[in-house]
């Protein structure tokens, strides 16, 4: 009964806040509209300097082939290696491709030649992806050349063709897998940040003292704080999903019911975290730094941006003690793959576990007396 009054109060304060309602509406809209374009690991527009020392028909055709892909921009076909290196130093060139003199001749006579690549590897991922693209192009080109010369009587030995198919995302749109991850990001920021800010602000203003002398139960007080954020969480999810649908035409493959169901479980589990931190901090500044610290670690260690399977074992242990990891996995499965709840049951159990532990902790650590 008391709870009703507490929840009512939270909503009145929230709606009267000059900033929060705007944030709650604008953040999901802006993030969902803009960030899918920004958070792409796709490597495009790699700037290439080509040193074509052969200047033959075959080498020129190769350069054209490289330039025609969307991955590479052939910025210059300079002649000197040192000029090319300088351009790498200035950050204008990402990769130097050097075709040696006699390239064509060796290919025609011995059936074997070489090309050398130098990549700016400061960004290791970019250089390895770019190298893999270029390798692919060179291999294709080599087999094209052999086919062109073969008489048709002999097919190349061991001609194994690889026929890739990208399930759930056939066009390999890099934005698509980031969209569920960005929803995770927004939900975590809003549901993780706001409750902790709220309680500590009450501490700083002294209003919490007036509540503490009343006979209100710990559980009602905590729930009075949490329930409004649970509702906000659902609203934020709704806005994000709507924007996603309108801008990218993406709807959850497993259906809306599954999306909302798993998200509500996640909202339950993550909202406790902010409360725990606010219970342990005495000033807003302190609370914000703690929560920021945790959220950054949680975001980075969730497999949202880099794969969990590439982490060393100790880091994988951290990743699997992180509710975001499970929610990200679930959201990708639900949005893109159309997995049933049964398929992601393991992750769901984990989230329920987090909910129980974190909420209990939040209630126990809230002290009405000093």
């Amino acid at each position: 009964m008391t709870l009703r009054f507490l929840i009512e109060k939270e909503f009145k304060q929230l709606l009267r806040d000059p900033f929060l309602p705007k944030l709650i509406v604008m953040l999901p809209i802006v993030v969902m509209m803009v960030f899918p374009w920004a958070t792409t690991m796709e490597i495009k527009n790699v700037n290439v300097s080509v040193l074509d020392r052969d200047m033959s028909d075959i080498s020129r055709r190769f350069v054209d082939k490289v330039a025609s892909t969307s991955y590479f921009n052939v910025t210059d076909v300079s002649l000197g290696h040192s000029e090319a290196m300088q351009s790498v130093e200035l950050g204008q060139t990402d990769m130097i491709i050097e075709i040696p003199k006699g390239f064509e001749r060796e290919l025609l006579t011995k059936g074997e030649s070489s090309i050398s690549i130098e990549a700016n590897a400061v960004n290791g991922n970019k250089s390895s992806v770019a190298t893999s693209y270029i390798t692919q192009i060179i291999m294709d080109y080599a087999s094209e050349l052999s086919e062109g010369r073969s008489t048709g009587l002999t097919k190349g030995i061991g001609g194994i063709s690889i026929d890739p198919y990208y399930k759930f995302n056939p066009a390999m749109d890099y934005k698509i897998p980031m969209i569920p991850a960005l929803i995770v990001l927004i939900m975590t920021l809003i549901i993780g940040f706001l409750p902790s800010e709220n309680i500590v602000a009450e501490k700083e203003k002294g209003t919490i003292e007036q509540i503490n002398v009343t006979p209100v139960y710990k559980v009602s007080f905590i729930l009075g704080k949490l329930i409004p954020y649970w509702i906000i969480g659902v609203v934020v999810l709704g806005i994000s999903a709507l924007v996603t649908m309108l801008c990218f035409g993406l709807v959850p493959a497993s259906g809306w019911a599954s999306l909302f169901l798993v998200s509500v479980i996640y909202i339950f589990s993550i909202s406790g975290l902010g409360l725990i931190i606010s219970n342990y901090s005495s000033s807003l500044q302190q609370a914000m730094f703690l929560i920021f610290f945790f959220i950054i670690i949680f975001l980075l260690m969730s497999g949202m941006f880099t794969p969990v399977s590439s982490m060393p074992i100790w880091a994988q242990v951290i990743a699997y003690s992180n509710p975001l990891t499970y929610y990200t996995e679930i959201m990708r499965s639900i949005y893109l793959k159309g997995s049933s709840l049964n398929d992601v049951r393991f992750q769901l159990y984990a989230l329920v576990g987090f909910f129980v532990v974190l909420t209990t902790w939040a209630i126990l650590s809230y002290r009405k007396r000093s």
């Binding site: 009964m1 507490l6 009145k12 009267r16 002294g206 007036q210 002398v213 006979p215």
Partner: protein, 246 residues
């Protein structure tokens, strides 16, 4: 003898090596206006917080409305009202919304709250301010509102921590009238203050110096005991003994 509604025995609170409240013992009788006096930093607020269940004592015992402050805090909170030194109603809520919130927390129904709110606002001549945000009220009105909210659920005891700090004399007088009204209804009032003229309005006062209670009696008895003619003079004599800085 009247019923003892607050009883403290050797109540002590330490913060590290600092003893804020040092073995105080006293009783407050039902229906009394009990003045709890002392200089800044004498330990008044700390003692009051223990009695309200906001803070645990380090040693000693106390009973409020017959309930033990160690074990029955929940019960105590049912029968007390509290008004803190720092204004602590929600500034971003309207007048009626604050009243409704606290009424609700103390278990009143929506209908009861609405009815009592009307009564309260008309008694305070506050009808026009019903929909005003609390942060826009002048300080004196805020204090009156805070007091009204503290006794809205008709507690047995109300604790007031320097309720008239920073308020103009006219409003202070009105405030004390409200306190008398409450006392007439049978609410015991436990009030800290450092305005000595206000001490004169109390049935009994205690004077705290450096965490200890140095004097406790009716204002009249204290004045004659010290052979002076005002509470201010009593206080000056006692306060001179203080060694603790603020």
């Amino acid at each position: 003898m009247a019923e003892e509604i607050i009883k403290a025995e050797g109540l002590t609170k330490r913060f590290g090596s600092f003893t804020a409240v040092d073995h105080i013992s006293f009783t407050v009788e039902k229906g009394e206006i009990f003045g709890f006096l002392g200089a800044n930093g004498a330990g008044k607020t700390t003692a009051m917080k223990i009695l309200c269940g906001l803070s645990n004592p380090t040693e000693g015992n106390a009973w409020v409305a017959g309930y033990d402050v160690w074990r029955q805090v929940g019960k105590i909170k049912q029968c007390i009202g509290y008004m803190s030194q720092k204004f602590s109603l929600y500034e971003d809520l309207k007048v009626w919304e604050n009243i409704r919130l606290y009424g609700g927390i103390y278990g009143l129904s929506g209908k009861q709250i609405a009815q009592k709110t009307d009564e309260l606002l008309s008694r305070l001549h506050f009808e026009d301010q019903r929909n005003r945000l609390v942060k826009t009220l002048p300080l004196g009105w805020k204090q009156k509102l805070a007091f009204s909210v503290a006794i809205f659920h008709e507690p047995k005891i109300v604790f007031l921590d320097e309720p008239t700090g920073g308020v103009d004399p006219a409003t202070r007088r009105e405030f004390w009238e409200m306190i008398y009204d409450a006392a007439e209804k049978g609410i015991t009032v436990f009030v800290t203050t450092h305005y000595m003229d206000e001490a004169e309005y109390c049935n009994r006062v205690s004077i705290m110096v450096d965490g200890k209670i140095e004097a406790l009696d009716s204002p009249h008895a204290l004045k004659s005991g010290f052979g002076v003619d005002s509470m201010n003079a009593v206080f000056q004599k006692l306060a001179r003994r203080a060694t603790r800085e603020e």
